[in-house]
Symmetry: C2
DNA sequence: CGGCATCCATTTTGATACTG
DNA sequence: CAGTATCAAAATGGATGCCG
């Protein structure tokens, strides 16, 4: 691999030499919400064969973007995690996500797969630091068997797969409602009102939840 | 083209369905510094054949990211320009560039091509809005036959191919010096001192030039 | 010069079968 | 599970030739 290079002395081109191949950025996207096992990755990325997945992971390892490690005992299952360099791809991926939210994200197509983790990353993409000024809260999201937490700390957000240690508030929401929430411009308040979501915990934390995420108004590309 | 899709209801995946194919983002990068002719694009992107270039351009047109138009008379030459949707890919491309500047950009490889325009986009990538507070200035850069301008206006920057209308300052610099400047962490002041660059124009504008661009400290991916 | 069509060698990928 | 091996289909790169 990686014999095919753009051969340009340009930061963008060199970055794309490393992560521009098919599936690679989506692989990084998966790892951005926490370490994942080989099988988890395969299940999240339909169409990516096991051979190519193994090759991509090896490539990311060799290039210092990810590493293979083991979960702490007693689990000990092998997982893939991002290195510091890999984690720092987050701004680029979130920028791609913001563009996509604005310019591509209408209805869910009939053949399209969906995983809750993608939306959790979406929350990070539309997080508004100014709206979170002075807020310090941990939210736990439960979506169809999966659990995520988001830790807000005065303008910063950290969102990962897994349960929160000490959640200030817990939100349970259906997969479909969640998909609609970032796909069309819905809000948590609406989801709660319609019964598609339930929430419990600190009232102040829940009250501020809505303003934290500012979905860009959707636009059509065919106009301009 | 574009029969190959990730089929994921995810903003990042949908974006990559549109611009994730080989060459596409580099094509957008070229157009971010202004409209370009077919031949200009071909010359900038070595390895991209005319057939694939034509196909990619059509794809960008069909998807509403670029459009084919004509330069105003008397030129009338056909050029490709970004639409609003295309322009808005800038944050994502600049994020990729910033990552590349930090994690990939050592020495220039022997086989690597280089074009001044890439560096001009690099300036945009490392532009520090806070350092430009209260500054309103237009700079013209002359690099081996090519001319670019950067218009700074209180925290915003606009950088395009072409001469400035009313430059406050003009900087002439060699292609190699420019490459070294964004590749290794050089500054304009050093380039001027070493004679690799010349500058003229408003003294205040020139004095503030250095602080405007903050190259991230280079890091090795093999450490972490 | 701009741009499309064609042919062909090489890579990349997708899907599946197979092994520890 | 995790990962390899294998093979068919698709995408790419490069060279040309053509046409307005």
């Amino acid at each position: 691999m990686e014999q095919r290079t753009y051969n340009q002395y340009c930061a963008t081109a060199r970055t794309l030499d490393l992560v521009g191949e098919r599936w690679t950025l989506l692989l990084v996207r998966e790892l951005l919400t926490g370490p994942k096992r080989f099988g988890d990755l395969r299940d999240s990325l339909r169409g990516l064969g096991t051979g190519l997945l193994a090759a991509r992971l090896k490539h990311l390892e060799r290039e210092g973007l990810a590493r293979k490690t083991a979960l702490p005992p007693p689990a000990r299952t092998p997982v893939y995690a991002l290195t510091e360099a890999g984690e720092e791809l987050a701004p680029a991926i979130l920028a791609l996500a913001r563009w996509g939210l604005k310019w591509t994200m209408g209805e869910r197509g009939p053949a399209e797969t969906f995983h809750p983790g993608w939306t959790v990353l979406g929350l990070r993409a539309v997080f508004d630091p100014e709206a979170a000024a002075g807020l310090r809260a941990v939210y736990e999201f439960r979506i169809g068997g999966e659990v995520f937490y988001a830790r807000i700390d005065d303008g910063t957000i950290e969102a990962q797969h897994g349960p929160a240690q000490h959640p200030d508030a817990t939100i349970t929401i259906s997969e479909d409602a969640l998909a609609a929430l970032t796909g069309q411009g819905g809000t948590f308040a609406e989801a709660l009102a319609s019964g598609a979501a339930e929430a419990s915990g600190d009232a102040e934390a829940l009250r501020r939840l809505n303003g934290l995420f500012r979905l860009p108004p959707a636009r059509s590309r065919t106009s301009s």
